[in-house]
């Protein structure tokens, strides 16, 4: 319980809303590219922003999930929808800025998701896994609804899961050694954020299977 109060509630809430907003922007932008109407944009913004946390809350038994009890969490993706609806050429143009915010959201959600799962009694490994799921789950749902192969799984994309795994793992190590404080939590967020930025800057990629045969046998 104390764990959930890493930061003061208002600081935590502000951080959450920022993460939700940037994830919603990424969902709304994909919806525009896929030619969806304004309701499709709003649905994809909501799912991208809230899907990961919703999955985590269902798994840990935190029902109704935060996505349905906090009006700010619900309204924020609608604001992102409005921004993208009217300004999407400008948002596309500052795509790099969006990606930087998305990296921040990735770090924030990995850390807060891990912390919340642990505070509901899950083990360290399970908590880190749910932190990862909180951070990347919305993006996977976004791509599934848009009928695309999830960007998370593709080898030709810069590392995305690894920074979240590092951030979540740092949190469980801090918990294990009784060193989780707002400062160390912040450190984990920053580490995930910086790793993701470096992955984008230097195009770090994860390896594909050893001796990958070139033939694709699936039709």
């Amino acid at each position: 319980m104390q764990l959930q109060q890493l930061f003061s509630p208002s600081v935590q809430h502000t951080l959450d809303v920022i993460g939700i907003f940037v994830f919603a922007i990424s969902g709304a932008l994909l919806a525009v590219r896929k030619n969806f109407d304004v309701f499709g944009i709003a649905v994809l913004a909501e799912v991208t922003a809230l899907g990961g946390g919703l999955f985590r809350d269902l798994v840990i038994g935190a029902v109704p999930p935060a996505a349905f009890t906090d009006l700010g969490y619900f309204v924020t993706p609608l604001l992102a929808t409005l921004v993208v609806f009217f300004l999407h050429p400008h948002v596309e143009r500052i795509q790099m800025g969006v990606l930087v915010f998305d990296a921040a959201g990735l770090g924030l959600f990995a850390v807060s998701g891990t912390t919340k799962a642990y505070s509901y009694g899950l083990g360290l490994t399970a908590s880190a896994t749910l932190g990862l799921a909180t951070a990347v789950g919305g993006g996977v749902l976004r791509d599934v609804l848009a009928n695309e192969v999830p960007s998370l799984l593709r080898w030709d994309r810069d590392l995305y899961a690894v920074p979240a795994i590092v951030g979540a793992s740092m949190v469980v190590l801090f918990i294990r050694y009784d060193a989780l404080t707002p400062l160390t939590s912040g450190l984990a967020v920053v580490m995930a954020f910086v790793l993701r930025l470096a992955a984008m800057r230097f195009h770090w990629r994860a390896p594909r299977a050893w001796n990958r045969r070139s033939t694709v046998t699936e039709e």
Copy 2:
């Protein structure tokens, strides 16, 4: 609790079963078009008919969900599977009739989903959102399983979400002003139903993003 008894239980159950049946028909028809076998038809019929309510029940913590406690809810999509399996050319021919029933199901599920969510203690906005999810969730799952872009999100389809949003919003307004009765509930169902029929008749569509660029940058 009292809210769940808007209509007499047997009337409510009959309305639910009608909604389940027509949604199941739409799932089974898509399965036939996708060339699925009879088990694939049954799976898609079940998912389309029960998926929205299943999602709502997991979110509000109503476990096991109604889809798994009411045998009639489970058997009805199997009947729809049989009907489509043997009579699908005829069902296709009366596609317009199916769409009219689907519009009725949309209204019924939006209203009953909103009411059930509120009776489990959710707020007004969250209840309306879950009413919408109850009404459209099954169709989204149907399209995802069939590996298609969800019809709900596409701009080139007649309005589908808006009638459900209107019906669900009417319910929460009636709740807010203490005016929810079988009569006003029925009014919300009818309003959603008529709006959907009008959207089909006059091909109402929602706008796409402002100044939509024609280039599609996704591969």
Copy 3:
């Protein structure tokens, strides 16, 4: 409760881990074919192996689900990922062996899923349905994440659902007539296993809709 102890706990756990391992192999192999990176392979292995049981546990209210409380369940798909990552041409070459193990996993999960659902108070039909979902759910999620039409639904694949349905139905019949023992449970597993092997050997398929028109009207 007693029902959950069909086999001694260690035997049950060993059977579960075997089922998880072979399902994870099938997920990892598809990920390699789809050209995913090593993290994508791990994600698809985890989802394929644990997705069906996760769905069942959410529906019956067993939270946190076993997938997040048993470290062995979580680690096993990572081992399968390593095996496929380094040895996938060899694993592909023994594809028939993998399919035989997959058939065993299908039978094990159908029976253990049905038993667990019943022990949580669900009815006989709902329990059998959840047994089927436990057995086939992971494979459906695997195909959805890989952006393919679920193999389960396609008519041009050998029977997969029917053996699981038979196994799950045998369990509920044994429960109904008070004859569920380790022996009869094992019989249900073997029956599902043998039926699936026969379906592969003789290419049994389920029928498509009656008088299937050849035109596919979906774009």
